[in-house]
């Protein structure tokens, strides 16, 4: 084997390795969905964000338009503040858009669903979404149901 042929084969090997890495990055993983240009950030306050994680999807009409960037706890208001990054080309969301936390499927992961309002003005960087609805916690719901059931049963006795 001449040196030249060896070097060509090693070149092919490295190129194939890089191509495989590229395929893993672009085709297999979610790297392609990281948009290169930064989106704008809007925040929303929730009483309860249990189950929501950083990088959870933010959707509108079921289409993903951004991701959760940061979840922090506001010590003054005793609320959770969710900072969302919306992709820059979705810049026509009305100012009175509302945000709710939903579950994908029965046991799926949590995501933020936005619903458009009718305001003329649009959300811009740093705005806060005022209308929010908390994440649905199954235990709370069952608790409410049980306590309602109990009080009804109690009043029925009388």
């Amino acid at each position: 084997m001449t040196t030249r042929a060896t070097e060509i084969w090693v070149g092919i090997f490295v190129a194939a390795g890089l191509a495989a890495l590229f395929m893993l990055a672009m085709k297999v993983s979610n790297l392609a969905s990281y948009s290169g240009d930064e989106g704008y950030e809007v925040s929303a306050r929730f009483e309860d964000v249990s189950g929501l994680k950083v990088r959870s999807p933010v959707t509108m009409s079921g289409v993903r338009i951004g991701r959760v960037r940061q979840i922090v706890f506001d010590d003054q208001a005793l609320q959770a503040v969710v900072v969302m990054e919306i992709e820059p080309h979705h810049n026509l969301l009305p100012k009175d858009t509302s945000a709710s936390i939903y579950t994908a499927g029965l046991l799926g992961e949590k995501y933020v669903g936005l619903e458009a309002g009718g305001d003329e003005q649009n959300l811009v960087q740093g705005d806060e979404i005022k209308l929010t609805q908390d994440s649905l916690v199954l235990e709370k719901l069952i608790g409410q149901f049980v306590s309602k059931f109990m009080t009804e049963a109690g009043s029925g006795d009388r």
């Binding site: 084997m1 040196t3 060896t6 070097e7 084969w9 090693v10 092919i12 090997f13 490295v14 194939a16 390795g17 890089l18 191509a19 495989a20 890495l21 395929m23 893993l24 990055a25 085709k27 297999v28 993983s29 979610n30 790297l31 392609a32 969905s33 990281y34």
Partner: protein, 259 residues
């Protein structure tokens, strides 16, 4: 009684001496790496024999592992009506675990054993001593290029293994079993994370590359210079590499994915 105690002590001392020699050798090889830069041809030649010649076994194994994952994953998932998640199952198992681990095991069998045998025979036929006589440092001339070649080849081989495996799962899942084409890829892209999964897989393969190449060149260099000694060293390379890879894989997985 005393004899058995002495035997135990001797074995223990032997073990620690070997461990020490192994680390000294690693240190020598690492300090010898910069001197390879002006003679990179040596590394390329070794990359050919270590990496390029391992390509066939890696590609074929990757294809079959991916196809088996496709079949098995489908059979399990179809019970839950979740066969659309087949892409996620195949890609995550390959990228996180099977890609780096199986590649390292195959690499130890295909390339590591060859390295040990080659270096051991060089030692047995006193080629290494001859080099020293000519004031050529065998660590820099023989061991360092082989070590670096193994270190370079491993991540590429693991990436090729995973990529081919994903394609193998695609052929079986989409081509044979009728999983939806779009769901296979989109669910995969949704769930496989570049940083959490792919980067950690690459880190794993880099660690395994170092470990397997290190064990291979150490066993070769440390072999008793007889034909029996070389054959034993070759066996030890494969066994120790496999154990080290599997043990380290557990530790790395616990560090990376354990919460």
């Amino acid at each position: 009684m005393l004899d058995s105690l002495q035997l135990l002590g001797q074995k223990g001392l032997d073990f620690f001496q070997r461990l020490g020699r192994g680390h000294m050798l690693l240190l020598q090889v690492l300090t010898g790496l910069p001197s390879l830069l002006p003679r990179f041809g040596l590394v390329i030649k070794q990359t050919y024999s270590v990496g390029v010649l391992s390509l066939v076994i890696i590609v074929v194994s990757g294809l079959f592992v991916g196809m088996v994952l496709g079949l098995q994953g489908y059979n399990t998932l179809v019970d839950f009506g979740a066969e659309e998640s087949l892409g996620v199952v195949v890609a995550l198992s390959l990228v996180r675990e099977l890609g780096p681990v199986v590649t390292a095991l195959l690499f130890a069998g295909r390339a590591g054993s060859a390295l040990t045998a080659e270096i051991g025979l060089m030692k047995a036929t006193e080629q290494l001593s001859a080099m020293e006589m000519m004031a050529v440092d065998p660590v820099r001339r023989v061991l360092a290029p082989r070590f670096l070649a193994g270190f370079i080849s491993m991540p590429f081989l693991a990436a090729i293994f995973s990529a081919v495996g994903v394609l193998g799962g695609y052929f079986v899942g989409v081509g044979l079993l009728g999983v939806d084409d779009g769901a296979y890829w989109s669910q995969m892209q949704d769930k496989v994370d570049m940083y959490d999964d792919i980067n950690n897989g690459i880190i794993k393969s880099l660690v395994f590359g170092v470990v397997v190449s290190w064990i291979a060149i150490f066993e070769g260099n440390d072999a008793i210079p007889t034909s029996e000694g070389v054959s034993r060293a070759t066996t030890r390379t494969v066994v120790h590499s496999a154990l080290a890879v599997l043990g380290l894989d557990f530790i790395l997985t616990a560090l990376m994915f354990g919460e």
